[in-house]
């Protein structure tokens, strides 16, 4: 490899390299397949399936009993099938299936991601893995893909189970519109889980110990669930104090509160679910702006179609996607810049 030979060989060599570079196109697919198999065989999958399953099915069971009991009064009620998910029975404190899902989905997301990268590091497999002819991003992509796949599998199975049990217990067949709403809710829930999964992957990149990463992940989930709804408006109120004598200032304060709440993915998800699962809901969003408020008043008591409901919460959906992408990109960039060595 003398100097002139090097320069003349260069184009040919790089072309050969590029061709070779393309060959195992699916490095991330190989990783995802292995991770998925690991997840499905893991204890945590079984435990989470049982926990989330119980959390979703128990309210459904009591709700369907309550609906059957008061069947005569409910005749002609529109979107009755969605009540299975969106209405709670007094027997379980009025807690609904969708509320349980909102509570537990972050847990599932964190559980399948908190040890994605740091466990490879602590096992001593990361340098071996990266010495194989794969791109470094394949590792993060593969792990994320496997996580989202197992979550989607779990949630889809549970929703199908609830739907089937609901049909049996209520004896009513859901309309295509109702089914479409359930599917839309399922997709939104998978998206929300995806946010928490990418957050967990980020933690697994940044925090070297899997246990610490899990603690931080679950801590954030708990903190946001328990205190987010109180703390965020508090911050907004401090920055924009509400003034009851001035309508403009009052509106400004309210919309600041809303804005702050919507930094939280929990609020975004809540909004999306409320719109998707309640066709009659068109004012749930509060006074986002005056125009929305007025149009909501005009439309009151009329049912929205699915596309109208989606349109209503489209900004929230986009924001949730954006947050997920942002967090994932951060994990991605940090991992690419990290030294292989511990």
């Amino acid at each position: 490899m003398a100097a002139p030979a090097d320069t003349t060989r260069r184009p040919d060599a790089s072309r050969r390299a590029r061709r070779a570079e393309r060959a195992p196109s699916g490095g991330w697919r190989t990783i995802a397949a292995k991770e998925l198999a690991d997840h499905l065989e893991s204890v945590r999958f079984v435990v989470l399936l049982v926990v989330v399953g119980i959390a979703a099915i128990v309210p459904m069971y009591f709700t369907s009993t309550a609906i059957t009991d008061s069947a005569p009064q409910l005749a002609g009620q529109p979107a009755l099938f969605l009540w299975l998910f969106a209405r709670g029975s007094q027997d379980v404190g009025g807690i609904t299936t969708i509320a349980f899902a909102a509570l537990f989905v972050p847990l599932v997301g964190v559980a399948f991601g908190f040890d994605a990268v740091n466990s490879e590091r602590s096992q001593g497999t990361l340098s071996r893995l990266l010495a194989q002819p794969i791109h470094r991003d394949d590792v993060v992509n593969g792990k994320f893909a496997a996580g989202i796949a197992v979550i989607a599998l779990m949630l889809t199975a549970l929703v199908a189970l609830i739907t089937a049990l609901g049909i049996v217990r209520l004896g009513i067949i859901p309309t295509p519109e109702e089914l479409a709403r359930v599917v839309a809710w399922l997709l939104a829930t998978i998206l929300y889980a995806g946010f928490w999964l990418s957050f967990a992957v980020l933690l697994s990149v940044v925090i070297r110990g899997a246990a610490s990463a899990a603690l931080v992940g679950f801590g954030t989930w708990l903190g946001l669930t328990l205190f987010g709804a109180f703390l965020l408006p508090l911050v907004a109120n401090t920055l924009f104090p509400p003034d009851t004598t001035d309508a403009d200032a009052f509106f400004a304060s309210t919309s600041a509160q809303q804005l702050f709440l919507r930094i939280s993915p929990a609020t975004l998800y809540q909004d999306v679910v409320t719109a998707l699962m309640n066709p009659e809901a068109n004012t749930i969003l509060g006074f986002g702006n005056l125009g929305q408020y007025v149009s909501a008043q005009e439309q009151s008591r009329s049912l929205l179609t699915l596309d109208q409901s989606i349109l209503l919460v489209w900004p929230q959906i986009v924001a949730l996607v954006a947050l997920t992408v942002l967090v994932f990109a951060l994990a991605y960039v940090l991992f690419l810049r990290q030294e292989v060595r511990a």
Partner: protein, 346 residues
């Protein structure tokens, strides 16, 4: 990590860089497999690797020796494109690992320092995963994996979970893992670390056999002396990021040394040696040993071990210790690596 493939028009700076790369690589022999020129890696102000020049030819076994923290692992990671050099040029099988990492990693088998496996999978499954990551079709991989497991003598443990493996077994599985892709170059980072002496012997015998069988070029790093001695064609001493000496072992041991040094010990006071030794032809000086007060160091123009022993016996002194210095790695190590064996001082 850079992906190749975009054609960038050549600017003045890139042209100058190319010319300087060409001049750096001008003296590289035709059969060089691993080349490093002025290779430097800095972490902040600390130079982990400092202007390293290294050439490993095809079929050679090169030992990179040095204390922990001397920059061996950093060098290895740069050769694999897992860390970007701050400065300098690297070529592995004629390719630049920074620009074409995948092409390099397809050719190079790597056994990392402290290798690990997925504990929940069996040894065989771990190898299968590596084969899949290398894009080797399952049909072709199975027979090859069987053969490798046989070679590293893990066939009995192949279907046990990797978490039950002992350290030595993991190391052997690591070697099989590095060979799964049928590499032409093997890079082994501390292959003998934390293995008991019998295991080390076994591992070295295995490596010797594999190198011969598979026509491999090997770069191995170690901080344990003597273990790699028997395996390496050439060694390089690494100290604080610099390669302080490199060459065939005998050359390093004797080539640089004009005189022969003998360590001598007798029963009784060592001072008794002085007069007897000075009388032997060829002996230039006798000095107290640096570390052991019971010994003397005899400096001579040639190997005077036999006449010296005879002279001491003739003087009624019974010999307890006679050793020629510089013949083993420990001496070389002491000579070339100033910070000592633990490498604490950087």
């Amino acid at each position: 990590m850079t992906r190749t493939g975009t054609a960038v028009p050549e600017t003045e700076t890139t042209r100058r860089r190319r010319v300087s790369v060409a001049s750096l690589l001008a003296d590289v022999p035709e059969d060089a497999v691993i080349v490093a020129r002025r290779l430097t890696k800095r972490y902040g102000t600390l130079a982990a690797v400092d202007s390293l020049d290294l050439t490993v030819r095809r079929g050679e076994v090169f030992g990179l020796l040095g204390p922990n923290g001397a920059g061996k692992t950093t060098t290895v990671l740069m050769l694999l494109g897992l860390t970007e050099p701050t400065q300098g040029v690297v070529r592995v099988v004629g390719l630049d690992p920074t620009r074409e990492p995948l092409a390099v990693k397809r050719k190079v088998g790597y056994l990392p320092d402290n290798v690990g496996f997925y504990g929940g999978m069996t040894g065989r499954e771990n190898l299968r995963y590596t084969a899949k990551l290398n894009g080797i079709p399952r049909s072709g991989a199975e027979a090859w994996i069987d053969e490798l497991l046989h070679e590293v003598r893990l066939e009995d443990a192949a279907d046990k979970k990797a978490e039950t493996y002992s350290r030595g077994m993991r190391q052997r599985l690591g070697i099989a893992d590095a060979l799964v892709k049928r590499p032409s170059v093997l890079i082994l980072d501390e292959p003998t670390i934390a293995i008991d002496p019998a295991g080390v012997e076994e591992l070295l015998a295995l490596l010797r056999r594999l190198v011969a069988e598979h026509d491999l070029t090997v770069l191995l790093s170690s901080h344990i002396l003597g273990q790699v001695q028997s395996l390496c064609d050439r060694v390089g001493f690494f100290s604080a990021g610099r390669l302080v000496a490199a060459g065939p072992l005998e050359e390093l041991a004797h080539g640089t040394q004009r005189t022969v040094e003998l360590e001598v010990g007798v029963e009784g006071l060592p001072e008794a040696i002085d007069a007897v030794a000075m009388a032997v032809p060829g002996v230039r000086s006798v000095a107290p040993h640096e570390r052991d007060e019971r010994l003397r160091v005899v400096n001579a123009a040639e190997d005077v071990a036999a006449p010296l022993a005879a002279a001491l016996a003739g003087a009624g002194l019974s010999l307890t210790h006679l050793r020629r210095r510089g013949a083993d790695l420990l001496e070389l190590y002491r000579r070339y690596v100033p910070e000592g064996l633990d490498g604490r001082a950087r």
